[in-house]
Symmetry: C2
Subunit: 351 residues, 2 copies
Amino acid sequence: MDPACAMAKGEMVRKPATLKDVAALANVSRATAARALNSYGYVGNETAQKVQAAAEKLGYRGNRLAQALRSGQLPIVGCILGDIQNPFFARIAHDIEVLARECGHNLVIGSSEEELGQEISLLASLQSLSIRGFIVAPTSADNNAHLKGLIAENVPLVLIDRVAEGIDCDSVVVDNEGGARKAVEYLIGMGHRRIGLLQDDMRIFTSRERMSGYRAALAAGGIAPDDRMVSVSQSTVEHAVDATIRLFSQKSPPTALFTVDSLMTQGALLAFRSMGISIPHDVSLIGFDDFNLATFTDPQITVVSQPVAEIGRAAARLLFDRLSGKCGKPQKLRFETKMIVRGSVSRRRDA
Amino acid sequence: MDPACAMAKGEMVRKPATLKDVAALANVSRATAARALNSYGYVGNETAQKVQAAAEKLGYRGNRLAQALRSGQLPIVGCILGDIQNPFFARIAHDIEVLARECGHNLVIGSSEEELGQEISLLASLQSLSIRGFIVAPTSADNNAHLKGLIAENVPLVLIDRVAEGIDCDSVVVDNEGGARKAVEYLIGMGHRRIGLLQDDMRIFTSRERMSGYRAALAAGGIAPDDRMVSVSQSTVEHAVDATIRLFSQKSPPTALFTVDSLMTQGALLAFRSMGISIPHDVSLIGFDDFNLATFTDPQITVVSQPVAEIGRAAARLLFDRLSGKCGKPQKLRFETKMIVRGSVSRRRDA
DNA sequence: AGACTGTGTGAGATCGATCTCACACATATT
DNA sequence: AATATGTGTGAGATCGATCTCACACAGTCT
């Protein structure tokens, strides 16, 4: 087919020049050409220049595939995140890409869409590319044989946003439990006792930790946990809308809501509007993860913010440290969160 | 270094099994093993099973690098966009990734950050990986020797969101000029005559087209273009804030503003708030490209929406059609835009 | 019996870059 | 003069998978 195409158009498919071509043009052997271009070993001055000129003329760029086959590694790092459409991950992906480029690497991005199966197959597919290392936000906190396999083969791995049980490697996370606890304690301090939680799938590490912060704060406040106050949803605006509506259609709905990520916070906002629930008058709202939108609404949304700008860079730096041969114990970074009080929480008197 | 690490920990670095290993375990030659695993040519029944078993046992996964070196192509497609953090591109990247995966390919993402130099070096670096094809949103409408080079080497290329002069290849864009014209005509119809334009760098194709739609509408409305009504900014929220402030700090500022993308629209919103300008009372606003936020504000923002969900998929489909050998003239898809009237534009009486 | 066809297998070349080794020639050292 | 050292170069092996070719043996046909 393809050749047929080319023939039909009468086109010459110009193949990229190889080292052999360069060597031939410069009248030297491949070995000498390689020496001249990579400047190692002994090469005569004139010879080197001849080779350079020939390479220039042919527009020679080394075939990284062939280089990689010998060296065993492609200058690519892989990155598997939950969903690039989540601004949190988009930011991280962007930062990783920038740092990778600085280190002369390209970035392959895969989206697990929070499906373990997808994460596994993506990883396998990238591994067969002899990719040098990975940054992964694992879908599941405990189902992680595939990650263990990576470690066993000594492939550098950095976990990001989430860690996985029994996986001993570099990681970058935030203090999810502490952040969630601060948020819920704040709500309790404002007089709320029926505090809703809009959370993600419990397989996900952050979801677990944030849930446990929520529970801890309730316990500290002397409030009994109540399953009717908890709604689970996938992390998309649409699903969060539904989950919020379910939560607030009960006979005695929460007076405050804590949402575990920014897409859910947005979903809750939309749901509240469609239900005619006003913030902070009828319901108080506080979300984990800050987002652009948070300051556009009226009132602005109070959030627990994460140092997004640092997470991706930190993970990338850890990865490239390993790639450049750094040994030593896995580093486990944990960033602090910060509560940003805006206007979406009000004091409750009647409770 | 690396071996030192391994030795220090006393670890065996288990190398992935090769075909040779499999062949040895199965007591056959590499050729036979290859035949058994890829099912071509003649292979005896027992032999095939022996090989399968051996492969299974060793956890053999072919080295795609080696395969690619022979075949000349890696099952990877590249994608160079302006900025993954722009939700428009994030959505596109996501859709391309999904389709690529369906087609058994991985996706390398690069961000040009709207720098021509970065686009060029990224492309070169990906090309040396023998990547099979590219989807690019070119930074510049006319500076495109690097894209010509791609075409000359017969590397499949699909332009997305933007086309480039003199580049004859598949492309997917929207009707920027028409969309912009509709928006501005709508403003004119609502009685506005001092209509501001907050636009991106003129190197960028969409910026040119939207600008020309803006001009066309003004002309049709009998309004003389006025440079003081136009402000240029990079496509980030922060830059757009500044540009908006400049535009509206004049003695006789616009009564309406048309912004050429969603990040700029958000920037304008922030700027208006900080300046105490109320929408739509003081100023009317209409933006190109819909965004989540648009329905969260009060009033909601009127926009010209693009069929984002289709653009990425369409581009990916074009690319994979080419990769599977489809010949024929380049297809140039152009999607229609749709104006979504919400509440950010008001009728102006005193004009 | 001799010439075929069909089936199954292995040896070796290939893709492109790199690296080890051997060799050649110069100059310097004893 | 004989040996060492330094400089420059090419032949060939290597990475791993694939593919062409040659060969071997079965069975079939004249």
